[in-house]
Symmetry: C2
Subunit: 217 residues, 2 copies
């Protein structure tokens, strides 16, 4: 069943797929991320494969079913978002500037691709998923807390408010093929950021929303 001579050649073999295989896998994830944000989470898998420049069989080999691909994309986007938050925290010069940088970076990373997370036909309790989610939540909360502590961010907003508004604004408008250039998106995000600044110019209805609230809603 397994090789008896060397101690653990199994793991070494398992972590060493062929070079072009991993490249193709990444191309698929990238293409899927783009397609998901543009055409929704139910875009045909064959088209994702075509956009990635690979055959459909390659896609099905890497991801047994649609959920596996979606999960990979969501985790990937969360990692990118978390990384953006870490970078924003590293530049501690101005707390609100860090928040601003994070928001625009997250939009560029296509954060709206993780909206399928809210879909019902999707296992929200996968280990990799909750880990990535908690990490993102913690980092974003820290970015916001710093800005609040510096008196630059209004107090009546939560992580959920920011993330949902961010995802909504950075999502391409429904009409397929209508790629409103990112220029528009960043204009709107900037307007949102201006509305987030302290002192608050109005009172918001309801209460600050956490990501926890969104999951139970």
């Amino acid at each position: 069943m397994n090789a008896p001579t060397t101690a653990r050649p199994v793991q070494r073999k398992a972590t060493r797929p062929r070079a072009d295989a991993v490249r193709n896998r990444e191309r698929i994830v990238t293409a899927a991320r783009e397609m998901f944000v543009e055409d929704g989470p139910e875009v045909p898998l064959d088209e994702i494969a075509r956009r990635a420049g690979v055959g459909n069989a390659t896609l099905y080999r890497n991801f047994p079913d649609r959920d596996a691909l979606v999960r990979e994309v969501v985790c990937s986007v969360m990692d990118r978002t978390a990384h953006a938050a870490e970078e924003a925290l590293a530049r501690t010069g101005d707390a609100f500037e860090a928040l601003s940088r994070f928001v625009h970076a997250a939009a560029r990373e296509r954060i709206s691709a993780l909206c399928p997370m809210l879909s019902s036909t999707f296992d929200q309790h996968h280990p990799d998923l909750v880990a990535a989610r908690d990490r993102v939540e913690r980092l974003v909360a820290e970015v916001m807390d710093r800005a609040k502590a510096a008196g630059q961010l209004r107090e009546d907003v939560g992580v959920g408010d920011l993330m949902v508004a961010l995802a909504q604004l950075s999502r391409p408008p429904a009409g397929t093929g209508c790629l409103v250039h990112d220029r528009f998106v960043h204009r709107h995000l900037q307007l949102l950021l201006d509305g987030l600044r302290a002192p608050a110019r109005s009172v918001l209805p309801g209460t600050a929303t956490t990501l926890e609230d969104l999951r139970h809603a």
Copy 2:
């Protein structure tokens, strides 16, 4: 072919469908508006009929094809939006307050249902459509101009900026069945409005966007 005794019974007959027929037609349009904003412009027509509480045949009798239904919904939403703008203008007390009222009202009227207008598979040049569109654009421009003239609205935003951001924020998140209550939407709209106030707290990238710009984009 036609009755010879009375002068013009034809028109009278044409404008008098049965009472339950017009009621059903309205129920269909209402249901379609909800489904379009929730599940996108490609939701099965049979489900729209089911949600409206009518048989599918009734839907196909009233609207020969999908485009006819979409067009009716879009025109309906535009009329409601224009009406909201007129009401906002009527309350001339405070110009920005009028803008705020319009924004929240438009969200309640499900303005995001007219995003299929941007779709390619949709006749944008239908007479009813351009008429309704021009009316909306004119009214919204007037609301914004008044607020600008009063020094309450930043100068670097256009009608297109407002309408797109409004549509995006009031759209339900992608996950079907995830009806984030309107409370969240109005929170985010309020944040946007605070960012729209003069004096501007930052400079926006790009230039003010009109609806004309969006059509050619």
